[in-house]
Amino acid sequence: MAEPRSIDELTDALRNEAYLADRGLATVMSLSLTLEKPLLLEGEAGVGKTEAAKALAAVTGGRLIRLQCYEGIDVAHALYDWNHARQLLYIRTIEAGDATDAGRTLHDVFGPDFLERRPLLDAIEHSDPVPPVLLIDEIDRSDDEFEAFLLELLSDFQVTIPEIGTIRAERRPRVILTSNRTRELHDALKRRCLYHWIGHPELDREIEIVRARVPGVPERLAAEAAAFVGHLRVMDLAKLPGVAETIDWTQALVALGQEELEAGVVDATLGSVLKHHEDIERVRDAGLRELVARARET
């Protein structure tokens, strides 16, 4: 697939993948392609950061390589590890024979055959015709040490494995990092990246997104659901529902055969929009019937 040349082309291509990017996001994604710089996406949960990477992979035709970060992630999980079971078996087999050249065995055992490639190595060592899209998801969950390691990787796109040598990316992968901002990332890491903050979408766009993502949704239901969630977002809640929640919820409503919002069904399905008990209580206290009525007016 040809890489989109202009911002408009990219917007259209993303739309074909059912990802509706606004002008800002499309501009930034397009720049990250042309400038070959990693893109750091921040935003509340459920605004489509991860989806952006998936859509970009689909659009460029590159493979999506995903590294989910978590606390304690280290090189063995992210870059490479040795296949120890195979190594042991190999050594035992050699031992069983008689020709034992320790140096040779050592050389073999720490060779590419015994290397377990993890996402980062995969993204650097790829031989794909189109560069893959490397998604480093929720980088804020990893720790300082890992961030420092990534920093090095993102500056030169090369890694050194002591036993094998230095591996350099022939064509740089497209890199998208996402963060929920549970902590502030190091400035040094940010300096390597383009930065974009994704907020909650405007009502019209959210309706469009719901319609693109939930096949067969009645137009009216999409509009009312998006408006309802929009009203929730200005309430004082512990966790604001994102677009992902709007989509989930609309899917649930469609599965229940709803054509439009109805207080009873909204009450029964509130759990797919709000994930905190107090939030659900608070919304019920505020008067579901009224909220539904307000959403239906829009």
């Binding site: 800002g24 501009t27 606390e71 120890h84 042991l88 300096r191 930065y195």
Partner: protein, 379 residues
Amino acid sequence: MPTATAGDAVVRKLVTFGRILREAGLEVGPGRLQDALRGLDQIDLTSREEVYHALRCTLVSRRDDIDAFDMAFAVFWERAPSTAPDQPIDLGFQASTEPPKRVPSAAPAKDDDRPSEDESPPVLVASSRDEVIRRKDFADMTAAELRRVRRLIATLPSAEPMRRSHRLRPGRAGDVLDMRRTLQAAMHTEGMPLRLAYRKRKLVPRKLVFLCDVSGSMEPYARAMIMFLEAAARAGRHVEAFAFGTRLSRLTPQLRDLDPVRSLRLAGATMPDWGGGTRIGESLRAYNEEYGRRGLTRGAVAVVVSDGWERGDLRLLDTELGRLHRQAHRLVWVNPLKGHTGFEPLAGGMRVALHHSDVFVEGHNLAALEALAEVLTAL
């Protein structure tokens, strides 16, 4: 280089714009400007939106800077009259209230050549004079005494609650078999893994979130507390500090400022509330919404420093403190008045606070702060 098409005028303009952003507190180095220039080269310069985003994604790297950027962009690139001419760009530390004059840290620079006794290992009770000052209520101290306290606080062992990380490090015995090292050892024993190597969980500092009341009734204690926070914030990136009275402000960046005198003055100036009334519930709500929602409290030790004199709604305090408590690993409440003889937690807010706190300690003198550091470390 792309500059050829971008044109000299654009370059000049961009450099000036970068300078304005730097003054507004953004970190804009030459590398970023170069990226911005390359970005401008790729887009349609007549599209306001594309120009805006090309500049924003290259020059801004944190959410909190977006507002300042927007203002600068509007003024500079669109020549829009600044909406608030008297406050062009909020630099974060130009609060309108006059800076506190009695901030003890505004001590003369000669403080730096400390008496040699301070260089000796941190034997806290160095002299009987120190002992007196340790027990003296902060409220009764003179400015000179507060200055001494500041030096003493710097010698306090840092408060560092620890937690087990998921990160592993090599150890002789431990939680997880370390195959890599086991195998390396096996090379020496003809491939027989005779000696097993392990990896064990590392201990890392737990997040510490301080929420310090700086309203009128707390004033004498808040100053000492800020000194304590200042020492704590230096310990590392795991410490976050906030001050509140009628509203909340984040202190962490000011406290980390390398020049201690300046840091305290800035911290004082960032808090427009210094010495005003208290709305604990509302301030906690502001914290929960802005920071708690992002997960700052999760797994952290939360420390609220306040006398519990709530001027606002007690029910709101109850809700928000409950929220804080549920998210935090432990909630510690520090009330300087607790150290006073005959203290009964009668203030309405204090009763709510007791209900949600895991630990309730005093904070009226140096000895109490020492104890606080110990309590925190043990959590």
